[in-house]
Symmetry: C2
Subunit: 389 residues, 2 copies
């Protein structure tokens, strides 16, 4: 086990009806709030009315900025930063899914920084010095941004998707009502589950030894998603299933489950080039890339793939043939993605060989390598794309 520091002070308010408390939680931190949201679905579902009424009753002034999209854009972030400065905003409330939250985080950091916000994304070694405090009302369990220190933004001019991380970006509170997620489409639900599962797998596949507890906790969380994902497609209105998915999504990415271990993150990096280029949903990109990554890197740590197959997918085959066990585990993961109606090959998403070389090169921009389980070059990334064809 590696030495680590774990510190996640977000306050989670979880359960039915909790969004009605938004105003009280917000008023503890700010009096002039930027209400940030997405394409307007929160107006159709009535969440917008509940939240704005709650803010009003708590005596909080509100400035609105909608329009955050999946793979959130730098241009809107810059607009939000100007708005915050002009209006003297002291708190940001993100109401939506991961894209809205990440956009809000970037605005929060940019609003109190002299530098252009993209500088921090372009230079991972630059530390984010401060940010406005922010809160979350979550509608879509997927990215885990509601309790993470991370934000991912797409620079649409450069077609680059990059991330920042800072303690200042951990929300002060996150309101998680699983009822708000029952209106998600089957595809949004599936993509969310895929993203959550990926956050767990990126942490699971490590070369760090003696990580028994976190291995088992990760397996526990993976098994929960593997069980609940298909249930959410079959019975979308089932509160209990939505609740399991939402809480798993938060714990998958709040840094608890990689304490003492070195995570991989290659699949996320390789996928980001796809979703930046084709505007593919992140979760659908991950269901394509992850099995290909696994096939490519498995010999770098066969025991881990055997453990994954046996413990997570109950593979029960001849232990003298670990390769067979590992491949069966990967096969069952692909089966699960198919059951979730997600693509497992680039061709299923209409992507051919054409741009892969360029995307592989671009995945290395600003980095010397990708991944920690097996350290990958642009050439490796290209081979992984080809395995996914």
């Amino acid at each position: 086990m590696e030495n680590f520091i774990f510190h996640n002070p977000v306050k989670i308010i979880f359960g039915r009806g909790t969004e009605r408390e938004t105003g009280n939680h917000t008023a503890r931190y700010g009096s002039r709030v930027l209400l940030h949201f997405g394409g307007g679905s929160i107006k159709r579902t009535g969440l917008y009315d509940v939240v704005t009424r709650s803010l009003q009753e708590a005596g909080v002034d509100t400035i609105e900025l909608g329009g955050a999209r999946p793979n959130p854009r730098l241009s809107l972030v810059r607009e939000g930063i100007s708005l915050c400065r002009r209006e003297g905003v002291d708190f940001i409330l993100a109401v939506g899914g991961g894209s809205v939250i990440d956009s809000a985080k970037a605005i929060a950091a940019g609003a109190v920084s002299d530098r252009d916000i993209w500088d921090y994304f372009a230079n991972p070694q630059l530390e984010v010095p401060a940010a406005l405090p922010l809160g979350v009302v979550l509608t879509l369990p997927a990215t885990g941004s509601e309790a993470s220190h991370m934000a991912v933004i797409t620079n649409e001019e450069l077609t680059l998707k990059r991330s920042i991380g800072s303690m200042h970006l951990i929300p002060r509170f996150s309101i998680l009502n699983p009822e708000l997620s029952v209106t998600l489409s089957p595809y949004q639900t599936a993509c969310g589950c895929s993203d959550i599962l990926s956050h767990l797998m990126e942490r699971y596949f490590t070369q760090t030894e003696h990580v028994d507890l976190t291995d088992r906790l990760l397996e526990a969380a993976m098994k929960t998603i593997l069980w609940c994902g298909p249930r959410a497609l079959e019975t979308p209105l089932d509160y209990d299933v939505r609740a399991e998915i939402m809480w798993t999504g938060t714990l998958a990415h709040n840094n608890l489950l990689d304490t003492g271990r070195i995570s991989d993150w290659a699949s996320h990096g390789i996928e980001h080039e796809l979703s930046a280029e084709y505007d593919l949903a992140h979760g659908a990109g991950l269901s394509i890339i992850t099995p290909a990554w696994m096939k490519y890197v498995r010999r770098a740590g066969m025991e881990k793939f055997v453990q994954f197959a046996c413990r997570v997918f109950d593979v029960d085959l001849d232990f003298r043939n670990p390769e067979q066990i590992a491949l069966e585990g990967i096969g069952r993961l692909e089966d699960w993605y198919r059951r979730m109606k997600l693509p497992v090959r680039l061709s299923e998403a209409g992507i051919g060989e054409g741009d892969l070389k360029r995307l592989a090169e671009r995945s290395m921009v600003g980095k010397s390598s990708l991944g920690r389980f097996k350290v990958l070059t642009a050439g490796d990334v290209y081979e992984i794309y080809r395995l996914a064809l």
Copy 2:
């Protein structure tokens, strides 16, 4: 799943050599510190020197109070409270195990309260309004107090062991170096593992339905303790085993693993009377009481006991006979306690029938019942004591 709030802002600093940073972490919160410790083992091991040097280098004034004992005493707490007031202490640093930390927490609350500190223990409905900030250097993984909001104190005049809970009692930071735990005796190690396992089981046995994720996380943590406990007795100097136990001990009791579920706590309540009366180690009391509690309450939720047997202890028997599966699970738990050289019957601890009726009555003082999985009366508690004879 029940609605819940989860908020645990403790900063965990985990790993080899981390105690050398004590001064820097302390100096963020206070300049005049009460250094609270136990019977002096930290002087023998050299930890005292490392910590005091670190505090000195960070420019922190230190007032010392040693002498905290297992089942920490109210009289020492009162002495600490007077000392803090007299010396203008603004931060409390607990260096030791759960007894030292709980003693420090009670001092922290008492030092800023007009009421006598025991009032809060005697009246669970009284809210602890404030406390001095506190930090921890942990030497003995067991109680989870290093990240919990709870403290347990024994009133030696009344022979009562009672607890308080408050957000104000969550430490600001806890330094967890597993190296510090390799000097523990086999018995201390075993008692610590027993306490950790009990914190997991108290949460596991719930009547709350649809708690898939936390069920599995609890099983993951239980399996880690069941594996690592005997390893720590066999190879006491093994850092990796000590690290798993220490981190599991913290996560077993930081309230994450009972999010959305109603925990039981009857075994702890029933045990507290034993350790208050006989000064038995808490972990040894739990290894006696828990199997008896399980046998007594199992019919109140047979499915949960079957799940426990199958998932945690790999029981693989005829599913048409759940009773048999449940009892085999309890039997394997007893086997494990024996392997850890812990008593599983009162007679093994030299306790006879004599006082059991009185202890059962006393376990109800200030309460109307005990436990939530099955609600217990004093009569039930007496039957459980008798099952443990």
